[in-house]
């Protein structure tokens, strides 16, 4: 989440004070991303340095200082909105690594590992859904954030289900992977190998 661009978006509505920006940021993101006031002022200083916002009032006016977006800031904001986030290469996903390691470590039942993560994720989804159920008429921003979180968790569960099925089929089809002293390292190497294969830089 880019605090810098979130602040520019809020200032695109009109001039605002630092504290007001912090309150509005938290309200618009469904209070899911808490922001401390120091982060707000540091980011505003950088935006001002880069000519993307302007302030009125003295440099040491503190909370009384009002900020507004510049033409350059508007250009930066619209450019950012239309630039897709980098989803082209697999992220370094801790859960994927854990499952890859669990396949190889002797004495560990990978299906139990998968189920413990699946249960935790479903419990998290229950909490998000309860929020939706409790507040049927809640704010549109909160609804969008809750939906995004539910779809994200759902996709992880689907991956776990698929991994579970793939591992069961593999176990039925052939011999289990041989345990080796460097098994964990070998498993974690799968992701970098994949990155190399698809030419990803990270």
């Amino acid at each position: 989440m880019s605090v810098r661009h979130a602040l520019l978006a809020l200032l695109a509505e009109g001039p605002k004070y630092g504290l007001q920006l912090r309150e509005e940021f938290e309200a618009r993101t469904g209070e899911v991303w808490p922001l401390n006031v120091g982060q707000v002022y540091t980011t505003l200083q950088r935006l001002e340095r880069d000519g993307l916002v302007e302030s009125d009032g003295e440099p040491d006016a503190g909370p009384q200082k009002s900020f507004r977006i510049t033409e350059g800031g508007e250009g930066e904001l619209t450019g950012w909105l239309r630039t897709p986030p980098d989803l082209s290469s697999p992220p370094r996903d801790e859960l994927v690594i854990k499952v890859l390691v669990a396949v190889r470590v002797p004495g560990v039942d990978v299906h139990e590992v998968i189920q413990s993560h699946r249960r935790y994720l479903v419990e998290l989804m229950q909490q998000w859904t309860r929020l939706k159920d409790d507040e049927a008429d809640f704010d549109l921003s909160v609804a969008l954030v809750v939906d995004a979180e539910l779809f994200r968790l759902d996709s992880v569960i689907r991956w776990l289900d698929t991994a579970d099925g793939r591992l069961r089929r593999a176990a039925a089809d052939g011999p289990a992977p041989a345990p080796a002293p460097a098994a964990a390292a070998a498993a974690t190497a799968a992701v970098p190998r994949l990155r190399r294969r698809i030419g990803a830089r990270r």
Binding site: V32, R119, E123, M125, Q127, T129, D164
Partner: protein, 240 residues
Amino acid sequence: MSVLELRDVSKIHGSGAAQVTALRNVDLSVGPGEMVAVMGPSGSGKSTLLTIAGSLESPTDGEVLISGNALSTMSADELAALRRRSIGYVFQDFNLLPGLTAAENVALPLELDGTSARRARAAGLLALQRLDLADRAGHFPDQLSGGERQRVAIARAVVGERRLLLADEPTGALDSSTGEAVMRLIRSACKQGVAAVVVTHDAQAASWADRVVFLRDGRVTDGTATPPGPESLLAPGPGR
């Protein structure tokens, strides 16, 4: 008292080399107003669990009780009456009768149970009204959207004094927002005191439940705890 209780239920289909154990020693209890979701891969026994809970088939071993009454002690007529009066079913493909209107489909279980056509129709209309479907009462199933058909099926499942709602993949044929609307309706029936068991492979549908049990190879292998309040979402979780 639980609305539904499965005690050490097992179900074996076939015999000899073709024998398949669909359920193994399953215990499950669902109280009034509670929604329990059952998740598991294909072939894990989810649908068998639902048909046994709904008295549509008998367990090989164990006991099923509905509102404290053991199904094994009931005659075929008593079981049929129980199904008409106390249990509502919702299926992925809706299972509405194509030659009947929405209102007639909803009123059908009451009419079959001896309620006069006039009173059954009034109760059916009321159930449709609660689901915002009053204006669709005279429509036939093929004149309704998938979401509307499923809402009619839910109205039929809760019409009268039903205390137990059994749903098999109720959102399976629906897009995500219509699926959410359907789960809200089931949730709302639970808030009126109905106990519900929802079999699903869809985690988003399951997340509406108070409890989720996981089935694999016919066994209950795991289950979620009662979810804490939403405020815990802002606290750091394991591994975060």
